[in-house]
Symmetry: C2
Subunit: 197 residues, 2 copies
Amino acid sequence: MDFGELQKQVDFIHEIDKVKYIQRKTRLFNSDRAENDAEHSWHLALMAIVLSGHSNQDIDLFKVIKMLLIHDVVEIDSGDIFLYDNVVSHSNTEAETIAARRIFGLLPQNQAEELIAIWEEFEAGDTAEAKFARAMDRFEPLLQNRSNKGGTWKEFNVTYDRVVQKKSVIKEGSDLLWGYSKMLIDKSVEEGILTKD
Amino acid sequence: MDFGELQKQVDFIHEIDKVKYIQRKTRLFNSDRAENDAEHSWHLALMAIVLSGHSNQDIDLFKVIKMLLIHDVVEIDSGDIFLYDNVVSHSNTEAETIAARRIFGLLPQNQAEELIAIWEEFEAGDTAEAKFARAMDRFEPLLQNRSNKGGTWKEFNVTYDRVVQKKSVIKEGSDLLWGYSKMLIDKSVEEGILTKD
């Protein structure tokens, strides 16, 4: 048997284990422990499966799932950037592009090219699939912060306008999810777990 | 806006956060920390994406991914059962079936029925998709134990014959992966990290 291609795939499988060590700022729904990128990616993929019917546009759901499973793999090299970071931009960086080439580049060439293209599509955020995937990525921490009585909003003094601005990305993927999100954000102000200037 | 269906989906999304607390016996590839079910499920889904070309039969890969993302959700209620446990059978139990009905039952009925059916298909292990998904579930801990110089084999005194017997499930999903797995198992004996009676 020739294990040449398989060995490359196993090297990739081994490498992405590191995603389990990348800590996010956001805490789990049910405890104070920070969530890691692997748990986050798993949760978003399952969210997309149950919420896909609310997408504004027809989507290739399988492609959305692939996007969500791989979207944070580049952080093995480039690290997690906090959504409300005031210094570093939470968007595609040169470091992330180099990371994508190195990590997906462990795979056989055709697979590397496919996954890099899907990751770039997610980052660009232009297609219906990318918009819905990005909506998932914004919706999960909103639910988590609600569950954690303010969570990172309180911890990092993030106020209402900033939350609305950042979370409005959800609207591009789903009007219904955005309506629900806006309702939760407003409720958070009423409950005193989010500050309105 | 009517959030009735969405609220059920959010309740499910909230509930499955608990999967992140279910500790497996197997350790991560790169450290001594035990892996949790969410990380495990994420890893298996990505493994299926890169390894699907080695399946013995044509498969609906998206269905395989769904199986892998949800396969351990029932453990929220029924707990993780160790593959080499000598007392409790590592197969579908009454407790797991009740758990599936409760947890997936949080969703709107059509979605609950779809996911329960997919979970049952995985558990039965008869279809091409279930066989390939189960191969992933056996292949990951093999790689982890190799990476951890014996890992749970050493920790729980599991010997060669038992490993070959349990891992041979991989062959039903992929002959190539089984050939590779057998090579790794034999190598583990040579290296002294697995005992042959």
